[in-house]
């Protein structure tokens, strides 16, 4: 048993560590005053539409960081080599994100490419995948419906074959960036199919006839997911991602490794929240004493989160099934972040509730985490299902 990163992984981690220290941390005071839109990653698509010079100034800072990261060859870390990336391991990605998360600046290494797009074939590669990798296009993800979320059997949207086309009909809820993305990865079922059978993923340009953004919904975290309607939206079958009828498997594969990123991000956010609490309590002896046990408790819990996150991504690197580990990490991480933020407010008091306060921001950011990409209840369901199916074997050491 060896918990050390490999030489290659350690080199990357140090590279990112230095980059964060030299380039990103100095920007923290600036970003503490940033417009709300710079919370999380939504600035990447939405802020670009803003004419506000203040917003544009921050975007310029981000672009500057991006150029430096590209120059340091830490930009396309998880992109496969054949598309010009470094294709580093899951563990290396976790280590890089852990370093990145030490700063509160919402800068990410690489453009956001949802992993399912790597299923692109033929002309799809040039049209959808590569522009995302290059940052020229953004995509949104349309799975949830007014009456269906994590349960595919409730999915009502249909993709009906008609000659060389598929005709999509249905409503999709909450795709973030549905209004600003260039194309959408939409899931719909083949007529007459049930359960997870027949779910098909199609790539649809957002300007396509029959695609309509009904409205955007403001949320607690500031993101503005949309309600989309597909009304006889006719798409050539060449725009099916993967295979027709195999969309659910595609979606599951995407969620797997990503959950460990969620784990390390929650870890990082929670660490920063605790650090902020420490700073605010510094010099206030009696307050400090009052909360030190809780601070210690949460530091310990975060160590526990870090441990299972690395273990899960290591296991993913071995090519093993990590659905059980992924569910554990998603559940534990998001619930823990929520508790940490809740504690931080308790420790700091009403001052932490000002909208621009880092803790208030974390408070708003943390709440949807327990819902998106599979609510905690779904995770518990998946965990118990694995337990009853495999028995204690799924808890044994390899």
């Amino acid at each position: 048993m060896d918990f050390c990163l490999s030489t290659e992984e350690e080199t990357l981690r140090r590279q990112v560590e230095i980059f964060v220290r030299e380039e990103i941390l100095p920007l923290e005071p600036l970003f503490d005053r940033a417009p709300d839109i710079f919370e999380g990653s939504r600035w990447k698509s939405r802020a670009k539409l803003s004419r506000d010079p203040e917003v544009q100034r921050y975007i310029a800072v981000m672009e500057g960081l991006k150029k430096k990261a590209e120059a340091a060859d830490i930009w396309h870390l998880d992109v496969p080599k054949k598309y010009g990336g470094r294709e580093v391991s899951n563990v290396a990605m976790i280590a890089a994100t852990e370093e990145l998360e030490k700063a509160s600046v919402p800068f990410e290494l690489g453009n956001h490419v949802s992993t399912i797009l790597y299923a692109c074939k033929g002309e799809q590669v040039e049209r959808f995948l590569l522009p995302c990798i290059r940052g020229e296009k953004t995509a949104c993800f349309a799975l949830t419906e007014p009456g269906a979320g994590s349960d595919p059997s409730m999915m009502a949207a249909t993709a009906t074959p008609d000659g060389d086309d598929f005709v999509i009909n249905g409503t999709k809820m909450f795709p973030t960036f549905g209004d600003v993305a260039d194309f959408v990865q939409v899931f719909a079922r083949l007529p007459g199919s049930k359960g997870r059978e027949g779910v098909t993923c199609l790539l649809v340009d957002t300007g396509h006839p029959g695609y309509r953004v009904v409205r955007s919904v403001e949320t607690i975290a500031g993101s503005e997911p949309c309600e989309l309607v597909f009304d006889n939206c006719r798409i050539p079958k060449t725009q099916i991602l993967g295979e027709a009828g195999k969309g659910w498997e595609l979606n599951q594969a995407w969620l797997g490794a990503r959950r460990f990123q969620v784990g390390i991000r929650c870890h990082g956010t929670a660490q920063r929240v605790l650090r902020r609490v420490e700073e605010l309590l510094r010099g206030k002896t009696s307050e400090r004493e009052r909360w030190s046990a809780s601070l210690g408790h949460f530091r310990g819990e975060l160590k526990a989160l870090r441990g299972i996150t690395y273990h899960g991504s290591w296991k993913a690197d071995q090519g093993l099934d990590v659905r059980f580990e992924a569910a554990c990490v998603k559940l534990f991480a998001t619930e823990l972040l929520h508790q940490v933020v809740d504690f931080a407010m308790e420790a700091i008091g009403p001052a932490s509730f000002r909208k621009e306060h880092a803790i208030a921001r974390a408070f708003r950011y943390a709440r949807p985490r327990r819902i998106v990409e599979g609510a905690s209840e779904i995770q518990r369901h998946m965990i118990q299902r694995a337990l009853f199916r495999e028995g204690i074997a799924c808890m044994e050491l390899q």
Binding site: F3, G296, K303, I308, L397
Partner: protein, 375 residues
């Protein structure tokens, strides 16, 4: 990073697992159901392992290297690392039969008792009562003073678990406030008084030890403060490892029972209240497992590990307690019946949470340490 067990670790784990299955779990049922009255009257009765069986088990454990885990091979021990030790105790934790390799800290290796301790002819107990509340040296009140090439110990009274051991290992602080020393004393040494023998809730015995001008030859001082801290950390690993095993057993049996037991026409396993109890337990067990193994790995690599050991013990023991609690709840009336192991786990894990650092104390220290380092 390679989180697979190495060949050697796997071999040790499998050896321990086989021993536990063949020698201990096979005897557990009869042990739990025993009806013969045992010595000191208690309420409920204390259960003990039959002397003859225990002797056999010690011999068998010694033969396969599952004895004197901490002692170097030169002193007759198996000298395994902490990862291996955690893996071993994790297997022993799976049974409620009160048998495991007793901790024999490496500091006694150079003492005149080493051979007999390693062979099991002599037994040793850690009289670490004063470290239990805080999990560190700050609570030690037993005092020693140097006197003409020897030491004189005194103590107003500490509780000693397993007081019928032949030797006591006791930390004491130098008179007038000073360095901590670690002393090995014979139960029958002059000045040693044992009184008020009683039972603990987990079937172990306890007694009050007082020391009045107890004179010890200089070679009975076997360690200093750092050794005491290291022993505390190793005890925390032992408890954490045991806790993991207890939780594995509770989870395994609860899963089986929930599948079999039908209420109102449906198996318990179809009830969300039961499913979630077990899902939360599985997550907790997983986090505690990796926390413990990483801390143990750090110890083996010579990295600082005291805080990690304390954290692992805190989390794992609490988790095991909750595992026992959940297992009892799921088994219903059988859960609290003494012929099942769960009530026994429930009692023993409650004590595990109290020794070598109470939870709030470990949390507080971790919190304060962060304040100092500013990280």
């Amino acid at each position: 990073m390679d989180l697979r067990l190495s060949e050697e670790e796997r071999l040790i784990r499998d050896t321990a697992a086989q021993f536990v299955a063949k020698e201990l779990l096979s005897r557990e049922g009869a042990f739990l159901k025993q009806k013969e009255p045992f010595v000191p009257p208690g309420d409920p009765r204390r259960r003990m392992l039959d002397d003859e069986i225990e002797k056999t088990l010690v011999e068998k454990a010694k033969r396969i290297g599952l004895w004197a885990l901490e002692l170097p091979e030169s002193a007759g021990g198996s000298s395994v690392g902490q990862v291996a030790r955690v893996l071993i105790y994790r297997e022993f934790g799976r049974t409620a039969l009160p048998f495991e390799p007793p901790p024999i800290p490496a500091v006694v290796a150079t003492s005149r008792y080493a051979g007999e301790l390693a062979s099991g002819e002599l037994s040793l107990t850690l009289a670490f009562d004063e470290t239990h509340k805080t999990g560190d040296l700050s609570g030690i009140r037993a005092v020693y003073r140097r006197k003409a090439g020897a030491y004189e110990l005194s103590s107003d009274g500490i509780d000693v678990i397993h007081p019928d051991a032949d030797l006591y290992l006791l930390p004491a602080v130098e008179e007038g406030g000073g360095a901590v020393g670690l002393f090995l004393l014979e139960k029958n040494a002059p000045g040693v008084r044992i009184a008020g023998v009683g039972d603990l809730t987990d079937d172990q015995t306890v007694a009050r030890l007082t020391l009045r001008a107890c004179a010890l030859p200089s070679d009975h001082r076997v360690g200093v403060g750092a050794d005491v801290e290291a022993i505390i950390a190793l005890e925390q690993f032992r408890i954490a490892g045991r806790s993991l095993g207890i939780a594995m057993r509770c989870l395994e049996r609860s899963l089986e029972h929930a599948k079999d037991r039908v209420t109102f026409g449906r198996p318990l396993s179809s009830r969300q209240a039961v499913q979630w109890m077990l899902a939360d337990l599985a997550v907790d067990l997983r986090t505690s497992t990796w926390l413990t193994l990483e801390a143990a790995w750090k110890a083996d690599r010579g990295m600082p590990y005291f805080y990690e050991a304390a954290l692992a013990k805190k989390r794992a023991a609490r988790m095991a307690f909750q595992a026992a609690d959940a297992a009892i709840q799921i088994h219903g009336g059988y859960g609290v019946a003494k012929e099942f192991p769960f009530e026994s786990f429930y009692r023993s894990t409650r004590l595990m949470r109290l020794v070598y650092g109470r939870e709030a104390e470990i949390d507080r220290k971790l919190g304060e340490r962060l304040a100092e380092s500013g990280s």
